[in-house]
């Protein structure tokens, strides 16, 4: 049983490290801010979760496992906040090419908000 758990831990660690490597390659080779942001989330969410799972399987101790669950939750709460704010700031400062988006709801929303503001002033 312990051998199985150790092998599973090793597999999780390898998968997590592989995602970190993939993120490095993606971050270096992708062209614009949004594509790089896509590559950056790989180790931030799945990579960290896999490595934490590997550590939990390796240490096999109750309290440590719960702290690791907490670490995973923190990471899943904070990573999207940071990514959202950074890409939104990139959009607002003109670092996203308008033609490169398939769905562009922020532009419509900003326009709608602008119209709403104009109506309110009158």
């Amino acid at each position: 049983m312990s051998t199985v758990l150790d092998v599973a831990a090793a597999a999780f660690l390898l998968a997590g490290s592989g995602l970190a490597l993939a993120a490095g390659v993606g971050l270096l080779r992708f062209r614009d801010l949004l594509a790089r942001s896509h590559a950056a989330t790989k180790p931030q969410v799945l990579g960290v979760l896999l490595m934490l799972a590997g550590l939990a399987l390796w240490l096999r101790s109750g309290p440590v496992t719960w702290v690791l669950v907490l670490v995973g939750l923190f990471q899943m709460v904070t990573a999207p906040v940071a990514a959202h704010l950074v890409t939104r700031a990139g959009y607002r400062t003109g670092k996203v090419a308008p033609g490169s988006l398939v769905v562009d709801e922020l532009t419509e929303d900003l326009r709608a908000a602008l119209h709403h503001e104009d109506d309110g002033e009158r």
């Binding site: 150790d6 831990a9 090793a10 660690l13 390898l14 997590g16 490290s17 592989g18 970190a20 490597l21 993939a22 993120a23 490095g24 390659v25 971050l27 270096l28 801010l33 790089r36 942001s37 590559a39 950056a40 180790p43 931030q44 990579g47 960290v48 490595m51 934490l52 590997g54 550590l55 390796w58 240490l59 101790s61 440590v64 702290v67 690791l68 907490l70 670490v71 995973g72 923190f74 990471q75 904070t78 990573a79 906040v81 940071a82 990514a83 704010l85 950074v86 890409t87 939104r88 700031a89 990139g90 607002r92 400062t93 003109g94 670092k95």
Partner: protein, 130 residues
């Protein structure tokens, strides 16, 4: 397990190096912010590897701290992101830094020379003496 740890370590090191290259190239502040976030995630992975290798449990709280505060920097930068002029988002060469420093020192000297000597060390204006 040692072999697995070495392979993981090499992959993390290569990934971190590539992220650092992006951190240096930019081209914009926000690209660097994303690279910094990714680097924090890789750092968590490295700490996990250390915890696995040494079976230490006291490293686990450090993971919690990193996961919590790792995003503060990028949120701050995103809040103050502004439109950067072309060519601004790069690291200056030594000569450019020296030129900027000389300019600053010259401006300081000029300011010092322009100010009236009498007003240095005197009482504050409007103060009633005696």
């Amino acid at each position: 397990m040692t072999v697995v740890l070495i392979i993981c370590g090499v992959m993390l090191a290569v990934g971190a190096t590539l992220v650092l290259v992006r951190l240096e190239r930019g081209p914009t502040m926000l690209d660097r912010t994303i690279a910094l976030d990714t680097f924090t995630a890789i750092l968590i992975g490295v700490l996990v590897l250390i915890a696995v290798a040494t079976r230490r449990r006291d490293i686990v709280p450090i993971l919690a701290v990193l996961a919590l505060v790792g995003f503060v920097g990028s949120v701050t930068i995103a809040r103050f992101a502004a439109v950067e002029p072309e060519g601004e988002g790069r690291i200056l060469t030594l000569e450019e830094v020296a030129a900027l420093e000389r300019e600053r020192l010259d401006a300081e000297d000029a300011e010092l020379a322009a100010s009236d000597e009498e007003h240095h060390g005197g009482p504050a204006q409007g103060e009633v003496i005696g």
